[in-house]
């Protein structure tokens, strides 16, 4: 049965789009049929991160307004035949999204895909509310930083009250994905650590994505990090997270410290 998953955070810049692309690609690599939907109307970027920016003809708003059929707006990934993109409109206003319109599109996507990943815009305005509205499950992307954790808490409250599932008295299953984690800094007490964040947000952990240059490198070339360098630390963390979404039990790896030269020398001496 199809699952609708919203990738959300409240705060901007924490890694929603990167995570949507990486998890979508990882699920598709596992043989699942996946569509990633960009809800960031006016500021679309999922197309760029996926390297499909020159292939966009029709978008989400066109489909909502009946200008295009869903099949005309869907873009199939060139590397993964199971991965599709439904881009956001770059020119229209976010108010062009309607509750009924999105409801209809999600219902149609449910008949065609195993996973529907909705990439939420930042904030708590209409686009963000509609991205989560029809979700069965939610991934809350958070960085180990006070403003991100606060906004995550707010978003968790909304998932529990403003979604269709919540209104029917059902639960939206929530997963916490901690991105841009720096184990060394956390262990020195310079950054909130995993235990702190889990205790504050009381949400099950889906994965820990290390702060890494590989993420920027992948977005530079328009490839999900899980495809661009499958052996990189963030790619492995995303792949593990995708397997957990599939119900597999995968041990949680806290990303290894990347040691500086002096640390290595000191470490060797101590060993």
């Amino acid at each position: 049965m199809a699952k609708v998953l919203v990738v959300t955070s409240g705060k901007g810049g924490v890694g929603k789009t990167t995570s949507t692309a990486a998890l979508g690609a990882a699920l598709a690599q596992m043989g699942e049929k996946v569509v990633v939907v960009d809800f960031d109307v006016g500021l679309r970027n999922l197309d760029l991160v996926l390297g499909a920016e020159r292939r966009v003809v029709f978008d989400l708003i066109n489909v909502v307004q009946g200008v295009a059929k869903l099949s005309q707006a869907l873009i199939r990934d060139k590397r993964l035949e199971n991965l599709w993109l439904l881009p956001a409109s770059q020119t229209r206003d976010k108010d062009a999204l309607t509750d009924e319109g999105v409801s209809g599109i999600i219902a149609e996507l449910r008949t065609k895909f195993d996973w529907i990943l909705c990439d939420s815009p930042a904030g708590i305005e209409r686009g963000a509310m509609l991205a989560m509205r029809f979700a069965d499950e939610a991934i809350i992307v958070a960085n180990p930083e006070v403003s991100s954790v606060r906004d995550s808490d707010r978003i968790i409250g909304m998932l529990d009250s403003k979604t269709v599932r919540a209104e029917k008295g059902e639960r939206v299953e929530k997963h916490l994905l901690i991105a841009r984690y720096d184990t060394a800094r956390a262990s020195r007490g310079e950054m909130l650590n995993i235990e702190d964040i889990l205790e504050i947000l009381a949400t099950p952990l889906l994965g820990i994505i290390p702060e890494s240059q590989d993420v920027l490198r992948a977005s530079n070339v328009g490839s999900p990090v899980t495809l661009n360098d499958a052996n990189s630390a963030p790619a492995r963390a995303y792949s593990d997270a995708a397997r957990r979404l599939m119900g597999e039990i995968v041990p949680m790896m806290v990303p290894a410290e990347r040691k500086g030269l002096m640390d290595r020398l000191l470490g060797r001496r101590a060993a």
Binding site: V146, D153, A186, R188, L192, D196, L261, M262
Partner: protein, 99 residues
């Protein structure tokens, strides 16, 4: 150049993460309490307006409800401007003062 003093100081500099954690815990306890009743003041204002309007004609713009949160005592201030009352009325409950 490697910054040796900083490298060693890094181990002893007081950690800021516990401060972040404590601030978040206090803040979120407060914000979660407000959730579900985010607009207590607007609710109070609407109900006070409705109640007083049953007896006195009011300009809704002239009803102001304010709340001040202090450490020990919070105050609720209700300021209602009542227009000049032209006619006598058997109901003598005018001029009620709130505050």
């Amino acid at each position: 150049m490697m910054n040796l003093p900083r490298l060693f100081a890094g181990r002893t500099v007081s950690a800021s993460a516990p401060v972040a954690r404590e601030r978040l815990q206090i803040l979120l306890a407060h914000e979660r309490g407000l959730r579900g009743q985010p607009d207590l003041l607007e609710l109070l204002r609407a109900e006070i307006l409705a109640t007083v309007s049953r007896h006195v004609m009011l300009d809704p713009e002239k009803v102001v409800v304010r709340m001040d949160r202090g450490n020990h005592v919070s105050t609720l201030e209700v300021d209602i401007e009542v227009p000049m009352l032209a006619e006598d009325n058997s109901n003598a409950a005018y001029g009620a003062s709130f505050g």
